[in-house]
Symmetry: C2
Subunit: 305 residues, 2 copies
């Protein structure tokens, strides 16, 4: 089978390099960062840290070079979903496309260009060290399920999940992926902006009682919105947050939003806290703290211009 | 009369340089920044911007060099009040000492070392451009009144207010300085941390509707605490905030807390939002947003260590 990772940043690279270990999977990567693409084609895509793997991946910044693929795995930042999928959709005319991105609204954007869509959530995390080399900070599970309005088949979802699992990225095919997705959205919205605004790693955020209380207050707003949507979370985000704060898990991990702030890149705040606040407004659930951190992070982005 | 400005940063310099214009006032400055002290003694203390003034001020970093003074004007950052007044108190054995600082709790600290204390609040603002040179960003009024538990006499307060007014720093002697002080504390606590966390000037904070809404939410918590203290604000902080945002007033002013963050100096958050939250807890007034920005700014400071 042939898989194309769309957006080969830290998370996309974890999927691409691991899937490329399998004999029965051919892996392509579509990414607009030329030196990363060139390095991957020259030396392979290398992961280091939680796992040391080098994958032979065919990378391109030219969407027209992509062959027909059985699967797409979209791993761009949420604000780039629409343009990346519009450019690559031709490769998935006969395939199914999964999101493994942060936030809410990605599957809706994919479904505007592709027929069979997989709602996905992934917990592994890392960061690009240099072109072609990615540090794998955190291992974790991935959940894949149908995107309800425009679903891939159960068979397709199981086939992709099986390949990921065999490749060393444990992945569950589930009938409803929304509980896992909201668990992660609530997790990220409670921790990412706090790291981004303070410059602290996940572990240091959690060990300050004042910040940990703020994280809990943000979690509580997210839980209330999820409940109003009729979604029963499959695990308590609080437990995940404390687990990740352990020194042997993700104490030293800088949230992707903090990585964005340090690089003065646009963040995913609109799809995390902004998404929770948007659903909250529609459903009549107040989210004053999510509104507040959304405003602060968007204004911080504004200060760079 | 002889006045010593204790802490000759931006605000202290505005008082020192202007008071030094008067023939009947001798001005001393106590400050621990050696190159600033040396520059003042060599070339005078120069203000530029909203007013262009050079004052002949005797500056020292050695508290024992201070002669007996009729008045002290304490203008250190709030966290340095205690140590600065402890060092200089001998000069005020026969004098009265005013605070023109930010936040709550300064007069209490002064009164631990000095007998007659003046509660003060000042609106002028600026920033140090280089040793001996201060940019005067914003003109404004000062209010001086008795510190209730350990007050200066009405005559002393009027004499200091008169000197400041004649020197070009319009100052009111008032029977109760708490309304003006809380107006400024509420103003500062609503705007300083928002500027500090986003990097935006006062005007840019106010023109973003999402941030302006956050500012208002912080103002509302501050007003509720002031009301619970029995203090009737003498003007609406909202009007002051909008006035300051005008291009001809303080649109381009970076809040002192933002200046601190950019220089990676400890901020006054504990005496602004932290002070409001502390009174709120004592009085049973909830202040979740003040708690939140306090936690974020303290954690940001923590990230530098």
């Amino acid at each position: 089978m042939r898989v194309c990772v769309v957006g080969c940043g830290a998370v996309g690279s974890l999927f691409a390099a691991n899937l490329a270990q399998l004999d029965d999977v051919e892996v392509w990567a579509y990414d607009l960062t030329r030196d990363h693409v060139d390095a991957i084609n020259e030396n392979g895509l290398r992961l280091t840290g939680a796992g040391d793997v080098t994958g032979h991946v065919r990378a391109t910044a030219d969407a027209s070079a992509l062959p027909p693929c059985d699967f797409g795995i979209v791993a761009t930042k949420a604000m780039h979903t629409e343009s990346a999928v519009a450019a690559t959709a031709h490769a998935f005319a006969e395939g199914a496309v999964a999101s493994v991105q942060n936030g809410v609204g990605n599957e809706e954007a994919i479904a505007r260009h592709v027929q069979r869509v997989i709602r996905g959530t992934t917990f592994p995390a890392g960061k690009i060290l240099e072109p072609g080399v990615v540090q794998w900070d955190v291992k974790g599970e991935t959940s894949l399920g149908p995107f309800e309005p425009s679903p891939a088949s159960v068979g397709e979802i199981e086939r992709l999940a099986d390949a990921c699992t065999r490749a060393g990225m444990p992945t569950n095919a589930v009938p409803d992926a929304r509980p896992a997705q909201w668990r992660k959205v609530v997790f990220n919205a409670a921790t990412n902006p706090v790291g981004a605004l303070t410059g602290l790693t996940h572990g240091r955020v959690c060990e300050r009682p004042d910040l940990r209380a703020l994280v809990t207050a943000l979690v509580d707003e997210g839980k209330a919105v999820a409940a109003a949507l009729g979604i029963v979370l499959d695990a308590d985000p609080e437990e995940l947050i404390d687990h990740a704060a352990r020194r042997d898990v993700a104490y030293d991990h800088k949230a992707s939003m903090l990585q964005d702030v340090e690089a003065r890149r646009q963040t995913e705040i609109d799809y995390l806290n902004g998404g929770i606040a948007r659903f909250g407004r529609e459903l009549g659930v107040p989210t004053p703290l999510n509104d507040m951190v959304t405003a602060l992070v968007k204004a911080l982005e504004d200060s760079w211009s």
